[in-house]
């Protein structure tokens, strides 16, 4: 038959050779895949079939300094859609039920699409009760739509704390790119305030439950009955320096106004109250905001999202006089015997600078008491421009306080050089007279003022102002672990502070500018300020601390566009101080009032 040869080999042999060589090749390949590289393929097969489902941990809770819960977690409903089972003609109906703009569902589905249509996509969190009950009633006619319970923030203390607590929102694509080791699309991340600054402590650790999935990623059962599951670890609870009572008073008093109020423990820098007005309702805002509310907030000309405490620099007005008094005393350019006679005004550089009244002869203490402008016009020339700038900076102005939350403005403290730049070497020195009373180019933020008054109260020593004191461990001991903050010591003697503080005491308790805000139960020391505002009414300021001889609380209040500091800011500070120092007394009073009311009611009922 086939005996003829091909290249001197028989064709038969070539055929045998081709067949056997092919089988050898396949055999070696199978040995390589199934025996040598088996474990690598095995791992790939396991990864294919097993899917880890993230278990989002509970976020840490916020406590105030007395361990009252400020922010916690409450269950809320989230609507999800599984694209493979969902009929997009339901979009219009669902958009009405969920109170979202038309096209919202398509946008979310497109934005979160994956290669599997069996993975549910979160449409909206925190839907309201009405929508939940409608969805549950109509579940049969809504294929692919389901409700799951997820946690959202609750605010049980009745404190708004909008700028302080902050909120979480779904992570942005830009941030996700940077943080993709931990976060996945759709994850929540602290976006402002404490929620943002302490995100890594609050978020805890994600857990995983493992399920078997088929090639379309559809779940078909637990993996090893949950033996490999890793539970999520709750985030750490934070303890804030906030005092709920003081915070509540601050928020009530600021309501309807534009401004800030900050209370601080002078010795430690712990913030007792932190309020910026106008604010917004975090409860209505968190995770899912009705489009009306969001629009209202965004278009409000008063900018409720704006954190005035950290970021709204204003001229400090007469509150700056204390700093100047201390600077002059510390430099030795004046002492308590140094007298200036106020005649209701004085001319500097050809310009007349007036005073609020004709104060006559005053020393530094009474100049503070009466907030005499003429005294401080003269004083700044004695201090000199460069020293004035240096002392302002020593008290923390013109630079970041490094408060633990939020973005911050450094404010502005002018220097001689900055004026030289504008006006040349012979810049008009009359400018300094304005600076002497805290007007002109000088700008400070409320948080800087709070730090300033803490320094005054505690004789030049305090700590970086901070909202959060520390955190609690997650184990059963719930040990408190404090955060450490930087000490600030401006290195000026107690004696000098005591002179300034005497003046501040008289402001409230003598014949001073804030005598109307004298408290019957606690000795408050303070200083009013009224900052001229070229755009409208003056800004009212007050800084103060109490008790005057052993300060436990220091307060800074700014109310914008209202008028005198004594009229508008000092009463608020007084209420905040009383809320803190007279806590027990006020509580008792409250109870008594309740009793009286109920007695009267009983009486009324009986009389009837």
């Amino acid at each position: 038959m086939k005996t003829d040869s091909f290249l001197s080999v028989s064709r038969e042999s070539i055929a045998y050779f081709v067949i056997i060589a092919s089988f050898a090749l396949l055999g070696f390949r199978l040995i390589q895949m199934q025996i040598i590289e088996h474990s690598a393929y095995d791992e790939k097969a396991a990864n294919n079939a097993i899917k880890g489902i993230e278990q989002i941990p509970l976020r840490g809770v916020f406590y105030d300094r007395n361990m009252n819960v400020l922010v916690n977690n409450t269950p809320a409903y989230t609507v999800r859609i599984t694209p493979a089972e969902y009929d997009t003609t339901l979009n219009k109906l669902l958009e009405v039920v969920l109170d979202v703009e038309p096209g919202y569902i398509d946008k979310v589905l497109f934005g979160n699409r994956t290669f599997s249509k069996f993975v549910p996509i979160r449409i909206k969190r925190g839907i309201d009760f009405k929508a939940v009950s409608w969805l549950e009633e109509n579940t049969a006619s809504l294929p692919g739509v389901d409700l799951v319970v997820e946690m959202q923030r609750g605010y049980p203390a009745g404190i708004r704390g909008s700028h302080m607590f902050g909120y979480s929102k779904e992570i942005s694509p830009a941030l996700l790119e940077k943080e993709k080791n931990y976060y996945k699309p759709g994850d929540l991340i602290g976006s402002s305030g404490v929620e943002k600054a302490y995100e890594k402590i609050l978020r805890g650790k994600k857990g995983y439950t493992y399920v078997l999935v088929d090639s379309r990623r559809k779940e078909i059962g637990r993996f090893k009955n949950g033996a490999e599951d890793a539970p999520s670890i709750k985030g750490n609870d934070l303890v804030l320096g906030i005092d709920s009572d003081v915070q509540r008073v601050a928020e009530q008093e600021l309501s309807g106004k534009n401004g800030s109020a900050v209370a601080i423990v002078p010795k430690t820098g712990e913030i007792l109250a932190y309020a910026s007005a106008p604010d917004y309702n975090l409860g209505a805002f968190s995770y899912s905001t009705s489009k009306d509310y969001l629009q209202k907030l965004n278009t409000d000309p008063e900018k409720p999202f704006f954190n005035r405490v950290n970021s709204s620099p204003k001229p400090p007005g007469s509150t700056f006089k204390i700093m100047e008094a201390i600077a002059a005393l510390n430099m030795g350019v004046i002492d308590t015997n140094y007298i200036i006679v106020c005649r209701g005004g004085q001319v500097f550089g050809g310009r007349f600078f007036k005073c609020d009244a004709v104060h006559g002869p005053l020393n530094v203490i009474h100049a503070i008491e009466h907030s005499c402008d003429v005294f401080f016009y003269n004083l700044i020339y004695k201090i000199g421009m460069d020293n004035w700038t240096e002392y302002a900076r020593r008290f923390g102005f013109g630079q970041y306080t490094h408060i633990d939350i939020g973005e911050e403005s450094p404010g502005f403290i002018p220097t001689g050089a900055s004026y030289e730049k504008i006006y040349g070497e012979n810049w008009p020195r009359s400018i300094m007279a304005s600076l002497g009373i805290g007007q002109g180019e000088v700008n400070v933020t409320p948080i800087q003022l709070a730090q300033y008054v803490a320094l005054l109260a505690n004789d030049g020593v305090t700590y970086t102002p901070h909202i959060v004191k520390g955190y609690l461990t997650n184990d059963s001991s719930r040990k408190f672990i404090p955060f450490s903050y930087k000490e600030i010591n401006i290195g000026i003697s107690k004696k000098i502070f005591s002179i300034a503080k005497e003046g501040m005491f008289l402001v409230v308790n003598g014949n001073g500018t804030a005598a109307a805000s004298k408290s019957a139960d606690v000795q408050i020391a303070g200083k009013t300020g009224t900052a001229q505002n070229p755009h409208g009414k003056d800004h009212a300021l007050f800084i103060g601390f109490a008790p005057a001889d052993n300060p436990q609380i220091a307060v800074a209040v700014i109310i914008e566009n209202v008028g005198f500091g004594a009229t508008w800011a000092a009463p608020i500070a007084k209420k905040m101080i009383e809320a803190y120092l007279l806590k027990d007394k006020l509580k008792k009073q409250e109870k008594n009032t309740e009793k009286i009311i109920s007695n009267n009611l009983i009486g009324a009922v009986i009389a009837h």
Binding site: F6, L30, H38, A46, S215
Partner: protein
């Protein structure tokens, strides 16, 4: 002559037993891979039915007088070409290719039958009395006979089957005794066609090799030039065909060149197939216990990717036994081809062997990742009536040749 009454004398167990065992392994794998697929749960029963039908056809073929095959060569070739044309007009389109004829609820792929038809016409043509294998004319006619069905299956388009045709033409010419130069003339366009798929540089290198070879053979200049022209034309034709191919076939070819480039797209099947086989290990994960198979990571695993099921659930043990059965069967057919009593039968058997072998090597090579993903079934094992019936029909011819091997004609 003493008549040997032993069964083995008339009935070649060496052909039938491997085929039967392969069919059984295939049944188990089909059962396993379709168990959780609601669209394919009937496939096990259907395959059993095809099995019975093909056994009947096997015995019919086995019992026919051996001489009839030569008589049937021309009619079966023309009949299968007619079917290939009919399928282009009224065929059913399944996953992109218009390759199926509907018949009483079952689909049939004429291309499977056409492979056998082409083998028979080539065997008849090459074994005619005055054939001269080294004449240019004979080679040209043989290649043309094979090219008609290639054009028709490419029009479906069925890339896998066209490879089978190319392979069987070359194998049969080789078996007939083509010279090295003749083989070069036939083979070089095929190699150039494949190399052009890989890109322009491969194509140009192929052309350079052709020129060098032409110098070595030292044929006259006119002849060499025309061979070079044919090569060039084939290369351009292939690139043109590639562009005319459906998107999924183009990407399959590209994904073979770089499978990880698109792991969720065209390379997906290739990667998942390797994972299935590799994760099976030495002894496999056990029947019905392969995660890749049971969780359906490979689409339609019961057809072209059936070897993955064996590899995953029965491990190296299963894959090597399957290889062994094929090897035994192929050697058996090859031996039969060597000892067949006339040239027509020898060529037919070698053609049949080449059909089996090219299906086997492309299919297994594909799932172990040394060949591109080309949709082509594994004979006797894959689910599918057309493939099984034609495979058994061809086995019937081989068994027939064995039955009458001692008869004189």
């Amino acid at each position: 002559m003493r008549i040997d009454y032993k069964l083995n004398d008339k009935f070649d167990m060496g052909l039938v037993i491997p085929a039967f065992l392969l069919f059984c392994i295939g049944l188990a794998a089909i059962y396993s891979s379709t168990l959780h697929n609601p669209h394919a749960t009937g496939n096990f029963n259907k395959q059993l039915l095809f099995g019975i039908a093909s056994v009947i056809l096997f015995f019919v073929t086995y019992s026919l007088p051996t001489n009839i095959f030569r008589t049937l060569a021309v009619p079966s070739y023309i009949f299968s070409l007619l079917l290939l044309m009919v399928v282009l007009i009224i065929g059913r389109r399944v996953s992109g290719a218009k390759a199926w004829l509907g018949m009483a609820g079952f689909g049939f792929q004429p291309s499977e039958l056409a492979k056998l038809g082409t083998v028979m016409i080539l065997a008849a043509f090459l074994s005619r009395k005055n054939s001269a294998i080294d004449s240019f004319k004979d080679i040209l006619i043989a290649v043309l006979l094979g090219f008609i069905p290639i054009i028709l299956v490419l029009a479906e388009p069925d890339l896998g089957s066209s490879f089978v045709f190319i392979a069987l033409i070359i194998v049969m010419l080789f078996w007939k005794g083509i010279s090295l130069f003749g083989l070069f003339v036939v083979l070089s366009p095929a190699i150039l066609a494949v190399s052009s798929l890989f890109g322009i540089y491969y194509f140009i290198s192929g052309l350079v090799l052709v020129i060098i070879s032409l110098f070595i053979f030292r044929k006259d200049i006119f002849f060499s030039a025309s061979i070079f022209a044919i090569n060039l034309a084939v290369g351009f034709f292939t690139s043109y065909m590639l562009m005319a191919l459906r998107q999924h076939q183009q990407t399959r070819i590209r994904s073979f060149i770089n499978p990880s480039a698109d792991p969720l797209g065209a390379g997906y099947n290739a990667i998942q197939a390797k994972v299935a086989i590799g994760s099976g290990g030495l002894w496999g994960k056990g029947f019905l216990a392969g995660s890749q198979t049971q969780l359906q990571f490979i689409p339609e695993q019961w057809t072209d990717f059936i070897y993955c099921v064996i590899g995953e659930e029965f491990g190296f043990f299963g894959t090597i036994i399957t290889l062994g059965l094929f090897l035994y069967l192929f050697i058996r057919v090859l031996k039969l081809a060597c000892t067949a009593k006339n040239e027509f039968l020898s060529l037919t058997l070698i053609g049949i062997l080449s059909i089996y072998f090219i299906h086997f090597i492309v299919n297994v090579g594909m799932v172990v990742g040394i060949m591109p993903v080309i949709g082509i079934p594994l004979p006797f094992v894959s689910y599918g009536g057309s493939s099984l019936i034609v495979s058994m029909l061809m086995l019937g011819i081989a068994a027939n040749v064995y039955r009458t091997r001692k008869n004189y004609t």
